[in-house]
Amino acid sequence: MLDYPILSILVWLPIIVGLMLVVSSDFGKSSSALITLLTTFLVFIISIKLFQSYDHLSGELQFVEKLVWISGLNIFYYLAVDGISVSLILLTSFINLLIAIFASSENYENKSSYLGYFLILEGLLIGTFSAFDSILFYIFFESLLIPLFLIIGIWGGENRKYATIKFFLYTLFGSVLMLISILYLANLAGSFAIRDFYSLTLSFEEEVLILLAFLIGFGIKIPMWPVHTWLPDAHVEAPTSGSVILASVLLKVGGYGMIRFLLPITTEAGIYLSEYMIFLSLVAIIYISFVAFAQEDMKKLIAYSSVAHMGFVTMGIFLVFNLLGKNPTAAEIGLEGAMIQMISHGLISAALFFCIGIMYRYSHSRLIKDNYGVAQFMPIFSFLMIFFLMANSGLPGTSGFVGEFLVITSALGSSFLFGLLAALSLILSASYSLKLGKNVLFGDNQKNHQGYIECMNNEKIVLSALVIFVLYLGISPDFLFNLLDKSVNDIITSISIGRA
């Protein structure tokens, strides 16, 4: 244990620096980039320190900071972490570091506030992953919208106004329903601490309603079919780094919320509805893969692919319900698969959005047909992109495989049909990922209107770092498993005990 409030530092350091950058527009481009880089690097170092000091053999919450926030309502400033949180915090700080590196060469109007918003976003994300008071969680969860809204809205593409408003209202809609559930639970529990909700005994109808509310809230965020339609729009309009953070970290908030709230609180209802929810996830996996295949816009393609991959996450989570009585080991596999899928997708989708951003810089178009034969001019870049596309299609040896593999295994434990349908993703994801590669990277581009040249050094660093992590997670996901194992196990046993 550390004797300083490491979580508060992680949360507030980037927020404060970010606010400074936003408010003071006097910083130049390079100095603001430097400040951002330093801050994100510092946060990354601290989060690694957090990871190191985290005792993964203990299932207890660690680094607890609990202060009374609003005394009359029993709302606490309650930060803590378990394995799940630590893994996601690591992802957040890592991706933000990469964004800072990537953005250092980007040229934006009013760059200091651009970077500032990213820093704020980072702090809020870490806060979301470490808040153990439901209201505190909700506040972080909702606040996320603000910087992202501005990032997309100010520095986004043509149709950004529509996209941002849609994105904002959509997610707001989901989260307010969730807020009602939280308040309802808090009213019953007499406290807003998430862990106090676990021990509540709810009637079946209550549970179903609460489950639906949470499902809509987190389902929109993650996003699940059929509430996913904000994502492609938001992605398309977002600037590169915005897409990256949106896809790689922000979507994970939904999955994280499901694990935190949905699983332990509404178990009975979840068991009752699990088949429907798994069905929704399967629709996401298969249907969205088809939709992704039809895309003409690279970013939309990857956005839809994100939805499909998040289908695995939700599926892994909901399988827990389905397998709870039947096959606890498979349930555990499913949940860990979901977590690993989240982390892995965070890395891979980030990489792909970076790649698209780099191409966009030359071609000024995100359409597949406007980018052609890139491999001739950018061999290293193309090599990396092919690698990420392969990872996206779940090539073994990359992190993309591990999560899907575990979820499919778990699904097979539930029913062969589920497993088979989930496994179809192997074909479908390959079909759209490679279609992108085929149409964009390969082919003979004699004319070269776009003037592609090999990407810059900082971009190479970013992509190589991602390659290394994707490979590392794919080949040796041990450390992640160790991190998650106890927490996941605890969740499942606590649910099982709660039922018994």
């Binding site: 849609k166 209202l169 959509y170 059929p226 339609t229 904000w230 249907y287 088809f290 939709v291 295949f293 039809a294 895309q295 080991t329 498979a330 555990e332 596999i333 860990e336 034969g373 491999a375 001739q376 092919i386 392969m390 299609s393 090539l395 073994p396 040896g397 495989f401 593999f405 575990l406 499919i408 295994t409 097979l412 434990g413 029913s415 062969f416 049909l417 497993g419 088979l420 496994a423 179809l424 192997l426 074909i427 390959a430 079909s431 490679l434 279609k435 085929k438 990277l441 390969f442 082919g443 003979d444 080949i475 040796s476 996901p477 041990d478 498993f481 160790n482 194992d485």
Partner: protein, 641 residues
């Protein structure tokens, strides 16, 4: 032995990594690194094979490096060293070495020379990963990496449209198989909680009784697993109905076709089933299925080769057909025969492809056999090599192909699988026909090359290209004779394959020994068919004494590959496109996004626009509203109290 095996396995990987770092160096570095790394592997595998047999070792499974070991699943790098894997690795590395050497000259004018060797080295590594794998996860990883390298190599010429669609198709079709393989793997993990071969072999019987529901039917878990795994093998080994990627994959460089799409990768499925033969022996129905798939593939895809005109495509269909033989052998539980044919086929088919490559280079990348003719004089070495390889392919007595193929056919017949036997028999004829077709058309007749090159005997091709042809001829023709007896007696793969007793009984009762088999073969129907085929093709292709017009309908069916061609070229893409567009435009955008989401906001918006008109701005309306509200409240209260 373990350490050596690791070096054997790692050497191509190190080669790959080294090649990656010397992107901008001269070609010499690439050549040196790639060839030496494969050479090391090759020598080591021969050496270890020698060690293995000389010291009478038993199969051993070693976990070398653990990447992840959690109670749920474990991912480790392991080695399964036994005769099967060592023989297979020898085959792989030898063919690979020759192809590498061959490629030096074949690819010399290519700008991405280095990249080519990166891919091939990486492929060799992946293939060895499969060969030596001692657990399913490693198998699957190798399996996919092999697919990846195949993908990269088919699309090696990134500017060539046909190549990049071919590699896309190849990868996707392989993915279909991978779904089966992955599901099998997941089921194994679920049922056995381990992925280690040996552990599974040990507990296979106890699990065998487990039933599982698939779509309402009850299956034995083991059968289901084996069936799913075989689906993986079907895709990789190009069995009906997942065969159609292989002809297209000929868009890659010819050495690649030799290495990957003839000798090694496509046999991975065969190898896997053989490797898992203890499991397959326990299943019910799966083997019959395999047998039929194999024989159907062997016969019908052989027919397709007849109507092709691209030299590489003919050989590719021939490959599919030959893989069908191997599969049929697997299905008849004749694992060692399948392996035997795998080995011989690897050599003679690689040889055929390399010859084809040589021809193609000479003819300036002309692959249509109707436009190539009379090369016998111009390319004597290629001619001879091609002749030997063809003889082996058609199973001319005494050649390697003869021993492996005839044994399979006879054994299938011997064990009473009538229908497959008939199909395999008939396919001898087709094999003979298409082989002779190439042979006669390419090497005889009036030379198609320009005059200036016709008389230039001295430069048939680079020496680097011809040397592998020489070298390969030996195993292609004579290997069968040497290992036939030990193999059939079950000595070669004694410890590795199940159901050796079937082969042994066949050997003891039917074959007796290799010489006897050779002599006996002249009296069998096999030879008759072969002979008839040769006579027929001599007159038909060489003398052109008669002309047969195949009914157009049948010809069309065969040319279209029984519809698979259209299926893969038009229907599947179109269906996928249509479904995708429908789901995207009609459902995602129109129904969900515009219909539900945007419509909601539009409705609220128009509602707002409408109700806004209530605010008319007239005082009398305002006062009316206020008074009405007051009256409403009063009435409600009056009623309530």
């Amino acid at each position: 032995m373990t350490a050596l095996t690791i070096i054997l396995l790692i050497s191509p990987l190190i080669g790959t990594l080294l090649l990656l770092t010397c992107q901008n160096r001269s070609k010499k570095y690439s050549i040196l690194i790639s060839n030496i790394s494969i050479l090391i592997s090759f020598l080591l595998s021969l050496f270890i094979l020698y060690l293995y047999y000389s010291s009478n070792s038993v199969p051993q499974s070693i976990n070398v490096l653990t990447f992840a070991d959690i109670k749920l699943f474990s991912l480790y790098f392991g080695l399964y060293i036994d005769s099967l894997s060592l023989v297979m690795s020898s085959v792989v590395t030898s063919v690979s070495l020759l192809v590498h050497y061959y490629s030096i000259s074949y690819m010399k004018h290519d700008r991405s020379f280095n990249r080519f060797f990166i891919y091939t080295n990486f492929f060799t590594f992946s293939m060895l990963l499969i060969v030596f794998s001692n657990n399913f996860l490693q198998l699957f990883i190798g399996w996919e990496l092999v697919g990846l390298s195949s993908y990269l190599l088919i699309g090696f010429w990134i500017k060539k449209e046909s190549a990049i669609s071919a590699n896309y198709k190849a990868f996707l079709v392989n993915r279909v198989g991978d779904v089966g393989l992955l599901l099998g793997l997941c089921l194994i993990l679920l049922s056995y909680s381990t992925t280690d071969y040996n552990q599974i072999f040990e507990i296979k019987n106890s699990i065998d009784m487990d039933r599982m529901d698939i779509f309402g039917y009850s299956f034995s878990a083991l059968s289901a697993i084996c069936m799913l795994l075989f689906i993986g093998a079907m895709a990789k080994s190009a069995q009906v109905p997942l065969q159609f990627w292989l002809p297209d994959s000929m868009e890659g460089p010819t050495p690649i076709s030799a290495l990957i799409h003839a000798a090694t990768m496509v046999t991975a499925g065969i190898y896997m089933v053989a490797r898992l033969s203890p499991l397959y022996e326990l299943t019910d129905g799966v083997l019959i299925f395999i047998l039929y798939i194999g024989s159907i593939t062997a016969f019908f895809l052989g027919l397709v080769a007849l109507v092709q005109n691209d030299i590489k495509r003919i050989i590719a269909y021939s490959t599919i057909s030959q893989l069908g033989y191997m599969t049929a052998a697997l299905g008849a539980s004749l694992y060692s025969l399948a392996m035997f044919h795998l080995i011989t086929h690897a050599f003679f088919k690689a040889l055929l492809f390399l010859c084809a490559g040589s021809i193609i280079i000479k003819c300036h990348h002309e692959q249509d056999i109707r436009k190539i003719a009379g090369l016998r004089k111009v390319m004597p070495i290629t001619y001879l090599a091609f002749l030997y390889a063809s003889l082996s392919l058609i199973g001319f007595p005494l050649t390697s192909g003869f021993y492996s193929k005839e044994s399979i056919i006879d054994a299938v017949g011997y064990f009473g699988h009538t229908i497959p036997y008939l199909m395999l028999l008939l396919s001898i004829f087709t094999t003979t026909l298409y082989t002779s077709k190439i042979f006669f058309k390419v090497f005889f007749g009036k030379c198609s090359l320009p005059k200036s090159e016709e008389n230039n005997f001295k430069i048939e091709n680079d020496r680097q290209m011809l040397l592998p042809l020489f070298v390969l001829t030996a195993p292609a023709v004579f290997l069968g004779l040497f290992i036939y007896d030990p193999l059939m007696m079950g000595l070669l793969f004694q410890d590795s394959l199940a159901a050796n007793e079937l082969t042994i009984s066949f050997y003891n009762n039917y074959v007796i020994n290799s010489l006897n088999f050779f002599l006996h073969s002249f009296m069998t129907i096999n030879f008759l068919i072969l002979f008839a085929g040769l006579i027929f093709s001599y007159f038909y292709f060489y003398k052109r004494s008669f002309d047969i017009s195949i009914p157009r309908f049948i010809r069309a069916v065969i040319e279209k590959e029984y519809g698979f061609d259209s299926l893969s070229r038009y229907f599947i893409p179109r269906i996928q496109n249509n479904i995708s567009r429908f789901l995207w435009k009609d459902i995602d955008i129109s129904t969900i996004d515009n219909g539900l989401i945007n419509n909601t906001s539009n409705i609220i918006n128009s509602l707002s626009n409408k109700v806004k008109k209530l605010q008319t701005g007239y005082i009398y309306h305002y006062s009316l509203i206020i008074i009405s509200a007051l009256i409403l409240l009063l009435i409600i209260m009056r009623i309530a109290h």
